[in-house]
Structures are given as C-alpha cells and as structure tokens.
Symmetry: D2
Subunit: 396 residues, 4 copies
C-alpha cells in the first residue's frame, strides 16, 4: 500500500473516530432516563439517535461490504430504521420513546460493535467506500444537532427546568440586523460543485437569474424581536400568512418557543436551563410564520435561498453560521437536474421536498465543519424546536 | 360625455351583466336545499358564493364610492366576508353551511340590489373604478368555478348520485401525453405585463434562467393513469413523497377522487352524475401527491411553472386550458418584486403563499376568457376536489 | 264490523292523523333551507325527522303488512334509517345534512303517500297492528321534540339569532326549588304496568327498596343557578365530577348552553330568539355535570330515578313535566327482567344502555300526553341541547 | 406504654414495611428505562407509581402530623400528586412519562426518606393515625396492581415482546363457566359494615331488593371466548351496545387486547412475554363492551353488583378473586347515604362516579388480602388493559 493511500485511510479512521465519539460526548451528561425521552413525534430519544447512526453504518456499509459481518441484533434493523422504505419495516416514529429495551448500555455496546467492524472495513477496503462513509458521518453529525434540539425540548417539559450542561453551546451577543447591504443581481451559479462532500440536494450547480437585492449582515436580536411583540405582532393578522395566523391562534403563540412571562419579564429555556432573555443575542426558536410576519412588520422580507448563497459567497454575511439557521423565503424543492442517489440511500433528501422551507447557515448546535455555504437545511413552516433565526432582506 | 367614453361605460356594464348573470345561470339547476350544502370546510354553499360576489362589490365599490348607497343588510358584512381581515369580522368558514337565513331568494334579491347600484355607479363614474370592477368580475368568475367544484363535491355525498345537469361541462377525449417536446432554456421573461387585467400574483414580469427541458403536448389520460393504478401505484411508497404517502395511507386513497369500483370496473362521479370512467379523457381530481407519484412512475417529473409558461408561449402545449388545471412542481411563492395591492383588496393573493403549489392552464369549469397564459392558480398538495390534471415533463 | 270495533279503528285513525299532522305543523314556520340544517352529529335536519317518521311506518307496518304496498322510493330505506341494524344499511348519521335531494317537497309527498297507505292498512286490518302503530306514533312524537331541540340548536349558529316562532313554547315562571319534601322509603313498585302504551325500557314493573329521602317540589330557577355561577361554580373543581370538570374545561363552559354575556348581563337563545335570561323561570340546557355540581354546591344531590317516580306517584312534585326534563342520578340501565321486543323494533332502547343518565318528567317541547310517570328519557352526561332542568334531593 | 398498645404499633410498622417493600419488589426486574415508560394517558410510569405512594404518606401524614418533618423535595408535591385538587397543582397526567428527573435512584431515596419518617411517626403517635395509614397502605396496594397492568402495556409496545418476569403471576387453568347456579332474591344487605378497612365507596351498608337470579360459579375461559370470535362475535352489531360497536369499529377490535394471529393461531402477551393462548384459563383483558356482547351471544347477561355480592356471600362463586376482575352490569354510583371522607382524601372515590362500571372480585395482580367481598373496582367500559374477566348470569 503506498504511503499516500495509507494516510488517506488513516484520515478516514480518524474522521470516523472523531465524529462517532462526538455523539457519545453529547449523551455524556444524560441519564438512561433522560435518553429515553420522546417529547413529541417530531423528536426522538437520544438513545434512538445513538442507535440510528450505527444502524446506518451497519445497513449501508457493513452488511453489504464486510464479509462475515454479523449484525449486533437483527431486531435493530426495524427498531432503528428512520424512514428508508427501501430497507424494510420501521418502528412507528411517534412510538420511539416506548422502546426501553435495548437499554442505553446495550446501545452503547452496539456502537462499539459497529465501530470495531467499521475500522476493520476501512482497514480492508481503504477508501473504496469513502463516499458512503462520508455520507454516514455527515448523517451522524446531523443527528448530533438533533440530539441537542430534542433533549432541550424534552427537558423543557420538566417543571424543574433541568440543565443539560452549564457550559452548553449558546449564541453570542451581537449588534442586530443593522442596515441592509446591497447585492447585485444577474446570472449567478448556485449549488455545490467540487471535490468535497455535499448532500444530493445541494446539486447540481446551476444558473439562476437574480434581481438586485439587499440583505442584513447580521441576525435579528432578541431586543429587536421583543419590539415586534410589544407592538402587537402576535395580535395583528394583517402581518401574517393565512396559515400562519391560524397556527398562531390554535397553538396560542404569544412569543417564540420556550419564552415565558411569569410576571417578572420574559425568560427562556435553553440547554443551560431557564434564564432571562438576553436582548443582544440573536432571537432563536422561531417558526417560518413568525420570521415572515416579523419581516413584514419591519417593511422587509426574508431572503430567497439563492440570494442568501450569493450574498454569503460575496462575504456580505456576518454570523453566517453562528447562532441559528436562517429561514429563507424558498420552499424546499429540487434543483434543476436533481437526481437522487441510487438505492435506498437516495431516499435521503428528495422525498421531503414538499411543505418545507429552506434554512441556510448553521447554528450553535451544528458540529464544527459540518455546514457549507451551499448547505440546505429544511423544516416545515410551523416548526420551532430547532435553533432557527431571522435574517431580513428587501428588494433593494 | 364623448362617444368613446360612452362606449367604454357600455362595455363595462355589458361585462358586468354578462359575468353576474353567468353566476346565476350556474345556480339555476339547483334547489334552495342544494344551494345550502357545505360538504367540507374547504367548500362553500352555492348560496354563499352568490352572496359573496355581491359582498365584494358592496364592500369595495358601493360603500366607498356610491354616495347615499344603503347596504342591503348590514349583517351581510360579516356573513359573506371570506378572509379579508382588513374589513372586519367573518363568519367561520367551516360553518357557512349553517346559515339558512338569508334564504336563497333573499340572496337573489341582494344580488339585484347590488347590481342596480353598480349600474348607477358606472353611470355616474364612468371608468373611474374600472380596475376595481375588473377585479370584482374576475373574482366573481373564480367563484363560478368554485360553485361547480363545490356542488359536485356536495352532490357526491348523496348515495343517489344526483345529476347537476345532463349537459354540464365535461372534458373532451384526447390522445394522451404522447412524446415530450423539447423546449430551449436560457433567459426568459415570466409573468404578466401589459394592458389587460391580471391578478397581483402574476406580476411583476421578471427574468428567469431556465435549463433545456421537455414537456408533454397533451394531458395524461384516464387510461394512462389506470395503468399506474394497475401497476400498484398506490401500494409502492418509493414512488411517493413522504407526506404524500402518509396522506394516501391515512385517507385510504386507492384512485382519484370520485372513482369507485363496485365490482364491475371503475366508475366516477361528475356534474353529469355517476358513469364509467372514459379511458380517453384526461384524468381529473388528482392531488399534487398523486400527480408527482405518477410522473415518477413514468420516469418523468412535473414541469415547473416557468417551464410551463415558456412552453405555452411557444405554442408547444395543446389542451392548455381544456379539461383540468395542471399541477406544476412550483410551490406558490411571490415573484421577485411582488407587491400586494394597497388596502384590504391586497389580501387577495399574497397571504396564501405557503403550503400550496401552482397549477397552470384552466379547466372545464373555468369561464370563457377568464384564464391567461400567465395565470397562477394554487391549491394545497392534498386537494383533489378541483378539476386538476397531469402534464408531465423531464430534463430533456 | 261491530260498532265498538269501528269506534276503535276511528280512534286509531284519528290518533294517527293528529300525531302526523303535528309534525308537519312544527315544520310550518321553516324554509327548505332551515329544514336542511344539521348543526352537529347528534342533531338531525328537520327534513330528516319528517322523513324518518314515515320510514318507520313504511318499514315496520306497510311493507310487511299491507299487501301490494309500493315503497315511495326504495332509496329512502337507507337514507332515513336511524340505527336499526336489523333492517339494513344506514346513511352515516353525521352526514344527514348533506342530503339535499329528496327536497322538502318530496319528503312531504312521501309523508302523504305513507299516510294514505296507513289509513288503508287500518281500514283493512282494524286494530290488528294497534301496538305497533302506537309505537310508531310515540316514536313520531319523540321526533317532534327532537325537531324543536335540533332546530333551536341550528338556528343558534346564525349570528342574526333568528326566531323560530314568536309564540313558540316557553317555560312558565315559578318560585324556585323551595324546601325539600320528605318521602318515606321502604319497598316500592317501579316501572310501567297496565293497559296503556309504554316503551320497553319502562318494564317490567318490579320492586325496589328505598331509604327515606327528601325532594324538591319545584325546579331550580335561573336566578338560583345564576347564584351558583356568581359564586364561582364554574371555577371550583371540587364541586365537579372528574369527567365533568375535564369537559367544562375543554369546552370552555362558563354558563348553560345558549347563555352569553356581551357586557350587558346574561342573555339566552330560545325558540323565540335571543333575549335576557328570566330569573324566575326554570334554568334549562344544563348537562348532567352541571346539574350534579349545582346540587353539590347547594349541599344536596340529584334524586335517583326510583325516588323521582315514587315522589311523583305520591303527588309531591309540582312541574312534573312543564319546563324541562330532570336529570336523575341514575345511569340508564335495564330494569330487572327487561327483555327487548323481538325483531329490529327491539333495538329501540336497549342498545343505548351505557354512558347515559335517566331524565324524568317532560319538557316544554314534549307533545301533550306523550310522557308518563314511568317514562325514562336518557342522554349522555355532557349533552345540553335538549330542554333539561334540575330538581334537587337529599337523604332526608 | 401498655403491652397491647406496643403490639398494635408493632403490627402497624410491620404492615407498613410489608406493603412498602412489596412495591419495590415489583420494580426489581425493571431497568431505569423501563420504569420511565408511559404508554398511554391512562397508564403511568412505574417510577411515578413508586413516588406517588410516598407522596400520599408525605402529604396526608407526615407534613400535617410529624413535627419538624422536612419534605424530601418540595417540587415533588406537584409532580406526584395524582388528582387531589384539594392539595394543589398537578403535573398533567398524560405527560408523566416526560419526567426523567428525578431519576429512579432519587425516587428510591425519596421512598427511604418517607419510610424512615413514617416509622418515627408511628413510634411517636401509636395508632392515632391508624385509619389514615391503613388508607395509605391500601392505596399503595392499588398502585401495586397498576404497576403490573401498566408495565405489561408498556412492554407490549416493544416488538421484541420483552418478558417482565418468567415467573410473573398468571391465571390458573379452570373448567369454564359451567351451568348457572340459582340464588334467591328478596331483601339483602349490601356493602361494608364492620371493623376492618374499607374504601368509602363500599359504604354505607344498605338494603336492596333483588329478584331471583342465576350466576356462573366460574369465569368464562379462553376457549369459550374463542368460540364467540369464531362465530363472528366481532362482526355482528346486533350483539353489541351501540357505543360498544362504534368503539370496536373505530379501534379495529377483533379479539381481546394483546391477542394476535400471525397466521399460526392466536397468541397473547402477558407479564411472561408472548405465548399461545391457553384455552383452559379464564379469558382476560376484556372491555365491558366485549363482556356484554359475549353474554348476549350466550343468551345470558352480566350480573349486577348486588347480585354478585349476594352470590359471593352465599359461597356460590368459585374463583372469586383469582384471575380477573369481573365486569358487572352496574354503573359505578354512590350507595344510598354515601358521604365522602372530609378533606382532600375524600376526593378518593366519589369524583369518578360517572361513565364507569363496577368490577368485582380481584385479579392475579391484586396483592394478597387487598380485596374484599364488598370491594368495588371500576373502569370505563372501553378499558382493557387491566386484568378483567367475564362471569355470566341470567334471570333464573
């Protein structure tokens, strides 16, 4: 084996170990009971996330490619499949919190079993499966972010407001949206193209014609958002999309998720527990409907995802990926020429291209190096439990 | 008054009479009981549609612009407002079928009252309000299409399969999607621009960069769709969007809306009652989810709305507006530079720009001359009660 | 034919005509649109009630017993069956309001067709079917009461508060519950026994051992009930059954059904439209949960149905059947030895013996002569749209 | 302290220790994750049951009666209150499974803290609080039965069909309902009266007049019930109460809870895991609706609770309390003269006297010595997760 190849394998193993152990580090502050919690159908238990990452490697790498590999437990194929129809049955998503067995300890043993086999596979096959392994690791990183979103939501149900970790990631203070920066339109290239890893939904790179626009350098702060609330933002239907107003009414929204006013001013709940809102930090846990209403109140709009990408590439955006994912006005749809990957792995992104909006950037829970300028995150317009934020724009 | 002006007024009055009487003609075959029916929250009673059109003219034209105008009944302002927040309270949409009083006769008297006053206004003011009147008439025409959709749905609840009218509009037979026609990409202009009437959502005209694509000249027929069903189209989740599959499962979809197999082959229900499906006519009453799954099954995709418009402008499309509105792959969103009209009328289109897809073309229930090449109809992806059809495309 | 027999037939025909025409008189103030309304699954359109009474005679008398009888329309067998499993399919209860055809006129023709045939049958058969005819007429009378309950509920949905009839039945003023009257316990006979008509659920007459108790001579008035509201009755969970409190919370109950406070004191809605509550009339439109909570607040309880019957038989009760049916503390259950009638008619009462409470007495909408001292009405504990009232009792 | 008194205290402490340690023994086979599970709103996590028993002693005994007692954690007052309105707020029942903290270990420490203080209290006060302590212990025993019901239901969600314990309690085989035994009617005394412990709902003892009846000596077996299924019992609406049929349809019932036919005959799930049904054991996990339909199919009925008590007192009933609680035809209601205990403890039974039926006997999960001949258990007619069984009767 030539030295370059060896170094490439070493790098693969190193990446593999780094990403896999990061998941376990996220679960370290949690008890078996904490890791069992599922607070809503959209969220999953931390234990499930830990197992599901291993299921991905077992299903797509080890079983097809490592001769003689014995699955840790055949029942896990059903329990820890998320939505991949092509690989068989799934346990119902909303009932993941009902799986007390395997225990957290057994899931950790499952991870060690898979990790050892993966190292064997890399040893044997070198970078033959590097693309699929990269996909698996990026997938694992997505679930690291989900672990933090989901456990924050689950802990928020406890009236004792438990702390995940006193030094958990938090948004840094900042100066607010500020004045909008003009960006020139014309024919631009959008999407991923190049040697590094990207998800299928970022491709192919293609041309878009844009009109001139303006975009905020920084994110909307808590103080800026609180002014919207104080001005009756949640009581003025003319600011809202029709579906947004209906949702706000039926859910009783009066403020972002986790905000509460017990008579002594707004507090919020984060991975560090409950504490007063901080006016200078970007506002988080905002639905598309709220972001859109806020922008309208301010006489602006949300940027489209191609505008965001062009602005980001031009260096116009501060805080590209610091505090929260930024809602764009773009419904999540396939790029022209989009073709999902072959096989069950191709179910990864395409089947969700409806009833969702694209968010760009990254957030305090996104693993270092995971996001890209062309990265397309997506959530339904009513979702609020992710770390979502507001960046405003207008037509220039 | 110069002769040209007089002629312009005459044309306005003529248009007004033609459109208003067309609504009443649609209700002519129906009894007071029929006109009372509301079969689901998305649909409205025919009586409500008849009243709502008058409410529009009363609210936006007569009250502000005809001195001394006396509303027919002040209570109607609440009963027959649809969703215009800017003009006050509304009766809950899902309970429109609960309004037995005013009776159908009283609603007809309301129409006569408004019609007489509108003619007065046009006499007095000439074409001063021509734009708003045109909006009112186009709005009335939209409700004419809704009258037919809604009454078909309501009558379908009756096990006796009542006939709306034996000569009601129906789709003509046709040859099927056929081979796809190539259309060249590049920088194209999209949207309405010019002197005629258009809704705010068709503007402004703007540039779009398109890649080359191919598109079907004709619509998918019932026979072509039946082959999809026969091939297990409704049992193969890999063909469906994730939300689409969940909807099909929870709703028990096995075929388009109104289709039924009582053991002797498929029948369907139309304005002409229940009858066997006709293999050669375009398939109708299709959700976005089904249209998308069908296209995927056929190895194609749905066209984007800009592709549709470019193809239509190039004369590539037969049946542009004959049988059914054609689902596009484009979520309903604002065009770059979109600005809603000022005042409550501006609520018309913008507040629905979420969770919907654009349909293009027209349908058997669309009034003659109502639709345009730039017309943007829109429905949520699960809706099936409108006259919706499938046109397929691919990347060329 | 002996004269006595002739007189008996004449009486049957006279009864038949009287009861059947009373139903039509109830519908006289209503338009076809009014008669189409179904405001909730528990209620039915007036048109349906009119048809269903005829369906009963057609199904149980004319088809089996009148040679050569031709059903008016075979489809009505499904449309107007209520819940009799033994006679075939039924149209879903919650969708009765969707049947615009047959029209009200056609339903009236159906009634005339059935009436004529019934007179023929009585002519031919004398009193051979007198028992079944009496059941049909008592059933028709029950639906007369339902017509008034259901149309009141439907009209209440209209913000114009329409009047059913300015001289519609209303409760008379009265002095309030007053002091409780002692009644002696011991072994008592309960239930119907004798020559007149009774429903199967009133039989057999049987013995019950009762302890001494006390019972109110008159019904609780609006003023008495308003004092409960003013004392926080709807805010004190300790007064309520657990299920009752949950219902009151989820439904937002703050007062009896139809009460509203627009800032100028309580009004209520009745067959005479909206008007201020009248302190001296019995309170109506009360659920079991509210009646029970009220009694607890007053340091009393509701009477059991055997206590009610014993007290009524002893002449202790004023207003036995004037304003509203009186909730008893007795869940609706079979009497010892109860045996339903043979055949589908036997489905009449027994299959509802769960999740309901017995009400005794009668109400302003009960046809003259319909109720009896042994009559057992029944509703679920959360129901409020019938004319229900409160009579209190205690252990003496 | 006289010797007799000392012995009485000793007995109290002994009882206390025996009952309290029995709860912990039930949790011994379970992991922290198992004890966290809440599979439906009606069920609670085992951890919650363990804590709630302590909460009862802390709230009603230690805080009011042990000078200087320090609550283990003031937050537990809200978390582990079940439904006692009189003692303040409660955590929402359906969200008990969301409380990961306190951990199972902390709840065990809470139990030790309360146990130690209770022993102090008994030492100090002798039998001054013996009545309230007996109530607390009987309450704890009720939760022991709930622990087994609830964990069986939770484990049944796991597709691996986990075993609670291979030697968990199970029903013994038996010969089936057999012929009915006649019991004489007349004036009987019903209810508890005497020195031993009883719940408030068993009192006062009072007279009831009964007609002659017959009752089965033994419970309906699995084989007997399987014959009902095989005869189309779940497909014949005429056998069912109206609400029962609606429930069976909407829930898709085809057999008792936990039964499954994977093509190789019926299996069921119990505390010992999944295994074939045993024809000779009493059928369990039956709703009232099913028990009632079964009895009707067999030409019988369910016994009333007073009939059951009279028969049991006469020694007619075998298996009085072996396998399952026996549904009676008696809705759960207050006995004549019933008065709830004063204070919050009085909320114990009375507030559930609606929408439930009485079950008599006992079951395989009932602690030895807990049930009595006068014991009144109660569940809603649709409940199936408790160990419920069928005993039939008729009118003799």
């Amino acid at each position: 084996m030539p030295a370059a190849q060896m170094r490439e394998d070493d790098r693969l193993i190193e990446d593999f170990r780094r990403v896999r152990s990061a998941s376990e580090a996220l679960a370290a502050p949690l008890s078996p009971e904490d890791c069992q919690l599922q607070s809503m159908p959209d969220a999953s238990p931390v234990k499930w996330h830990l197992a599901h990452g291993s299921w991905f490697f077992e299903t797509f790498l080890l079983i097809p490619h490592l001769p003689g590999y014995r699955p840790f437990d055949p029942a896990y194929a059903v329990l820890f499949n998320s939505y991949y129809v092509g690989v068989g049955d799934r346990h119902p998503r909303a009932r993941r919190g009902m799986i007390s067995r395997p225990s957290l300890d057994q899931v950790r043993a499952y991870r060690r079993h898979v990790d050892a086999a993966m190292e064997q596979l890399i040893d044997r096959s070198g970078d033959a499966h590097a693309g699929l392994i990269a996909l698996g690791l990026n997938h694992e990183e997505q679930h690291q972010e989900l672990i933090l979103m989901d456990i924050q939501h689950a802990l928020s149900e406890n009236p004792a407001d438990p702390v995940y970790a006193p030094d958990a990631p938090a948004a840094a203070a900042d100066g607010g949206a500020g004045r909008l920066i003009p960006v020139g339109g014309g024919l631009h290239e959008i999407g991923h193209d190049g040697p590094g890893f990207a998800f299928d939904n970022e491709e192919p790179r293609h041309r878009r014609w844009l009109e001139d626009f303006r975009i905020a350098r920084r994110l909307v702060t808590t103080a800026e958002y609180a002014a919207f609330i104080a001005d009756g933002g949640y009581r003025r239907p003319e600011l809202w999309l029709s579906d947004g107003w209906a949702t706000a009414e039926s859910e009783g929204w009066q403020a972002p998720l986790y905000w509460r006013d017990d008579g002594d001013g707004w507090t919020t709940f984060s991975l560090r527990g409950r504490h007063p809102i901080d006016p200078d930090r970007p506002v988080l846990h905002i639905s598309y409907y709220e972001a859109d209403a806020y922008a309208r109140w301010r006489g602006c709009r949300l940027p489209r995802e191609d505008e965001w990408e062009v602005a980001a590439r031009s260096g116009v955006l501060d805080q590209r990926a610091s505090a929260g994912w930024q809602w764009t006005a773009s419904p999540y749809a396939a790029y022209p020429g989009f073709a999902p990957a072959a096989g069950a792995v191709g179910e990864y992104n395409g089947k969700f291209m409806v009833n969702q909006f694209v968010l760009r950037g990254g957030c305090l829970a996104t693993p270092q190096g995971h996001a890209r300028l062309t990265y397309r995150n997506f959530y339904p317009p009513q979702a609020r439990w992710m770390f979502s934020a507001i960046r405003i724009a207008d037509d220039g």
